[in-house]
């Protein structure tokens, strides 16, 4: 910390003829504001994370790559990795598409009205994932509300399996992730200069043309970034696949849980966690790259 601040004031200090002590105190003063949280995060976040990395390499007093070797060769891990990637990207895509319609709708209304409508997005966003999972088991179950309704309408005993399978996971996760994609897309839409659309219209563009030639391209960086972001969040999900998915929909997070609780193999759990966080970092940096590249 101190060195960082010293670095900052260095340029001024270097040229000054006498000590700039008051200004150092002033700058360090801001350092004091940052200090408690920095120390806390170092001790209770960074060190534990490093501990996970260490635990994945270090077992019974020796350093080993065995966990990663098992990960590379094990069919269970392949299954979980493929599930994680496909469910993550799938729900990311779905939530961006759904989120775009909502964000576009919100962006075209006066601010006062928007404050009201946004509750429809924020309320589910802040509702406990357990409430949602519970509600979906009731809605989607074989005796659930939707199947009962279908039976009543069709007059048959048809049952559409929507829970404890891939469909359940995707529905539940899309529901969870849509609000995550609405907000960034909305702010990207709101930051667009309305004059551009007006200009396009004055020049004779139809509403559809204005959207596809002006609004959509301008919002694309935000859309891609928030889609990748939603995918990353989805890939880390644990509760939804556990409660709404079947055995074959196991994701990496559930595997971590399994190895900690059932197999009591911290080494393997840690290795999976390391792979998961590297995956997240890779996708997040791609998102950041895409964002800066496209908005130039």
């Amino acid at each position: 910390m101190q060195t960082m601040h010293a670095l900052e004031t260095n340029t001024t200090i270097g040229k000054a003829h006498r000590g700039r002590i008051p200004i150092m105190i002033r700058t360090l003063g801001f350092g004091t504001f940052l200090l408690p949280l920095t120390v806390f995060m170092l001790l209770v976040f960074c060190v534990p994370l490093l501990g996970v990395a260490r635990a994945s390499f270090y077992t019974n007093g020796t350093w080993t790559l065995s966990a990663y070797r098992e990960f590379v060769s094990g069919a269970l891990f392949h299954r979980a990795l493929i599930n994680t990637l496909s469910i993550g990207f799938m729900t990311g895509l779905i939530s961006v598409i759904c989120g775009y319609f909502v964000a576009y709708h919100l962006s075209r209304m006066p601010q006062r009205k928007r404050r009201l409508y946004i509750i429809l997005v924020m309320l589910p966003f802040w509702t406990s994932i357990l409430v949602k999972s519970f509600a979906f088991t009731v809605l989607l179950g074989t005796n659930g509300i939707i199947n009962q309704a279908l039976q009543a309408i069709s007059g048959t005993n048809v049952v559409v399996p929507m829970i404890f399978n891939r469909a359940g996971v995707i529905i539940g996760m899309a529901h969870w992730l849509i609000p995550f994609s609405v907000l960034p897309i909305l702010s990207s839409l709101l930051s667009q200069d309305k004059a551009l659309r007006d200009a396009a219209e004055v020049m004779g563009a139809t509403g559809m043309q204005v959207f596809w030639k002006v609004t959509f391209p301008l919002s694309l960086p935000g859309v891609l970034a928030s889609g990748l972001m939603a995918s990353v969040i989805g890939m880390g999900s644990f509760v939804t696949p556990s409660l709404l998915g079947g055995r074959q929909d196991l994701m990496m997070a559930n595997l971590v849980d399994f190895y900690v609780r059932e197999a009591l193999d911290w080494r393997m759990a840690s290795a999976i966690a390391v792979v998961l966080i590297l995956l997240a970092l890779l996708i997040l940096s791609t998102a950041a790259f895409v964002r800066t590249r496209l908005s130039r």
């Binding site: 340029t11 040229k15 000054a16 006498r18 000590g19 002590i21 008051p22 002033r26």
Partner: protein
Amino acid sequence: MTSKLTLHGVSKRYGPVTALHPTDLEVREGEFVTLLGPSGSGKSTLLKIIAGMELPTEGRIIINGRDATEMPVRERDLGMVFQNYALMPHLTVFDNVAFPLKIRKTATEEIRRKVHDALKTVQLEHLKDRKPQALSGGQQQRVSIARAIVYNPSLVLMDEPLGALDKKLREQLQFEIKELHDRLGITILYVTHDQQEAMSMSDRVALMNGGRIEQIGTPRQLYFTPETAFAADFLGSSNFIDATVTARTSERTVCRLSSGEEIAAPSREGFSEGQKVRLMVRPEHISLLGQAVSADRNVLKGVTTGTTFFGESAEIRARLAAGSEIAIRIPNDYSLPEAEPGAPLHLEWDVRQTHVFA
């Protein structure tokens, strides 16, 4: 008079960029000094250095006799008025003005009295319980002024305080600030890019350009005897005519235009015969009346190219025989000569109103 602020060779560099060249400045007790200049001229940098929000790269700052170069902002004993008022949104008008006194642990009764007086000075006692957001821009800026004077700081800094207000209000507040200054004898260092504001309020104006003080003096000095073409151009309007020096005495310098016509000007140091110069005369100093009757007046011929009507005055544009365009400001009355485009004109002005620049 004692000096409230003295700068000795204060400069500021950001890496290779020089925002402020070494600058000297003195503000005496009770004086109203304005830093005037276009954006990027260094006036804001200079003000920030004086306030202590930036450190100078070199030089010393003396505030009220104390070396304040390295002093923290809060110990410099300054008052400051900002363009966007910078009132605390969570405090009432009264508490905003009381803030500096509370920081100084002034007794409650004294706070009440002083705040009351300060608000009375800016005629806002009746609004003391309002929140700043409920006030108009002009009222907010008055609160901010009251807050800057309530604790009697050595020097009050004003950073474009009227920049966010519309023209009418700006003029009224110019008058009020000036009146406050004269009545209370406070020392003010004022920053603006508006030359009219600077001229109408200041005892002295420091004209800044390119990170240095171009010229410092009373508004009259800057207007009537600008030392550089920039000063002439920035304060008031000006016409520039290219010429060559042909003759020079200690009193007068005579210059020839490309048309062969000759113009005389008061002599200044640093010009020699044969030198290319730019002559300057202000549009409002030119008149259109007949032939010159004395050697104290310059005469030029021109042709009208157009007129613009301004209400209280009119501007006539003319092309000189020498080729350049020139503007003439004349007060409007019924005796205005018809100025049809193409009509010949006789321009004349006092030799003393002619300025020579390199």
